[in-house]
């Protein structure tokens, strides 16, 4: 049995059988229970294994974090380079690899690596989305719905790009810049204790204060850099600001908030609501949309919410 904190989730869809991996695979029969060894490294993973897992409804396996680099190499060589695969499958593999990199960079505090990777990943996501073969609902379907920060940021990246396109952004460089900003928007959470981020119970006021510092901490860390734009920095600093001035850290009001931060705020909340959290079950899409709709114009930019609702409705 392995400790849960040493394991990273990987989608079964990204493991193409037959194959032999350099890393052990674990399975979690009970989502809240311990992980058990499923397939030792160097032991062949067969097509029949995938079928059996699918029949049992298992969509996620786990690998030790020491196998992250090997998994990423596999994903890049076998999936991303294979243009005969559907865009949805390549996107899922891309975000899966992204989660790994972010997990490592978050753990090691490698900001340069995170920024370089954010730009690369955002560019690749834009390229897949620009193929127009993947609609928003496919995007939602392939997102992992757990509560890890490194899962959340790749989800928010995909959603931000879908919303930005819907809102009329067509320039590839601008889209890539928005995507990279989205991948970095929670970078300040690296400085929040993991026990606090994953706390199952209600947060105390001092704990909430610590968490609410992450936009300022992230901004201060990135703001001296020349290779990021002001819009990207505002995604980091202002994604928790609300139009009515009740957000944080500054309590800015409507026009004082950068458009990219307004965009990020909508999908950040959407992903937070539709993901599994330690303290609650994921909300159905319909309820998450209703939440945004109720707050459109008061907390969230009305036009952004309308674009997001239109995009989600047309996708279903």
């Amino acid at each position: 049995m392995a400790k849960a904190r040493t394991l990273l989730p990987v989608a079964v869809d990204t493991l193409f059988a037959p194959a032999t991996f350099d890393f052990d695979l674990y399975i979690r029969p009970d989502p809240s229970g311990p992980a058990l060894l499923y397939r030792e490294h160097s032991f062949p993973f067969e097509r029949g294994d995938v079928d059996r897992l699918m029949r049992r409804g298992v969509t996620t396996l786990y690998i030790p974090d020491t196998g992250a680099a090997s998994y990423q190499r596999y994903v890049h060589q076998e999936i991303l380079s294979n243009t005969s695969l559907p865009p949805g499958q390549r996107f899922e593999a891309l975000t899966a690899a992204g989660r790994m990199t972010f997990y490592e960079a978050f753990a090691d505090g490698q900001v340069d690596r995170m920024i370089a990777f954010a730009e690369d990943l955002a560019g690749r996501v834009v390229d897949i989305l620009c193929q127009r073969e993947m609609v928003l609902f496919d995007l939602f379907r392939v997102m992992r719905h757990d509560h890890h920060t490194y899962t959340h940021v790749t989800n928010v990246c995909g959603y931000c790009l879908a919303l930005a396109e819907r809102a009329g952004v067509s320039d590839r460089n601008e889209l890539a810049s928005i995507g990279a900003g989205a991948l970095l928007h929670d970078i300040g959470k690296r400085h929040v204790p993991r026990s606090l981020l994953n706390k199952p119970g209600r947060l105390t006021d001092p704990e909430r204060e610590v968490i609410q510092r992450h936009p300022s901490v992230g901004f201060e860390e990135l703001s001296p850099r020349q290779d990021l734009s002001w819009g990207q920095l505002m995604m980091v600093y202002q994604h928790h600001e609300r139009l009515n001035g009740r957000g944080y850290p500054v309590r800015l009001q409507a026009d004082e908030i950068h458009p990219w931060a307004k965009l990020c705020a909508v999908v950040d909340v959407f992903d937070a609501l539709t993901c599994q959290r330690p303290y609650r079950r994921p909300w159905p899409v319909k309820e998450a949309m209703a939440y945004l709709h109720e707050r459109a114009g008061s907390e969230f930019d009305k036009e952004m919410v309308q674009c997001w609702m239109a995009a989600m409705n047309s996708a279903r």
């Binding site: 001296p224 990021l228 002001w230």
Partner: protein, 143 residues
């Protein structure tokens, strides 16, 4: 030679010439009258006691962050409270975490401040917290 009060008067005269368009909330009409120690707040983790320090001060703008244009200019700000290591002040503009600026206090002393937080109170009134950077020659730009 100027004594302490003369110096304060000359600093105050100089401050009066600086641009100052802070809009204090109406209910803060006793803003400059508060003195003494600040009470401890629940969950307060400050190491040093805070005192009210309600006075004008001068804040020198310079280029602070690569993407943020700051014209080289002095502004008048209102200090709110002070400790050995940090200061709170009101300003008419939003400042950003990590910005470093030079501040001249009402007693004529000059310090480099490093902005830690900024909160909007109302239009043209931002409550800003900064810590002092040791040494007058501390770099204004972060490494």
């Amino acid at each position: 030679m100027l004594d302490g009060s003369d110096e304060q008067r000359s600093v105050a005269d100089a401050l009066a010439l600086l641009p100052c368009d802070i809009e204090l909330p109406a209910k803060w009409n006793d803003f400059f009258k508060r003195t003494g120690m600040l009470p401890c707040m629940r969950g307060d983790r400050r190491r040093f006691t805070r005192s009210f320090h309600r006075a004008q001060a001068a804040l020198e703008y310079r280029q602070t962050l690569p993407h943020l244009a700051r014209p080289a200019i002095w502004y008048c700000v209102y200090t709110t409270d002070i400790t050995r290591k940090s200061i709170g002040f009101l300003h008419s503009e939003q400042l950003f975490p990590g910005e470093r600026m030079r501040m001249m206090l009402i007693d004529g002393s000059e310090r480099i401040v490093h902005v830690v937080r900024c909160r909007r109170i109302r239009n043209r009134c931002y409550d800003t917290g900064a810590r002092f950077i040791d040494g007058f020659d501390a770099p204004l730009l972060q490494d």
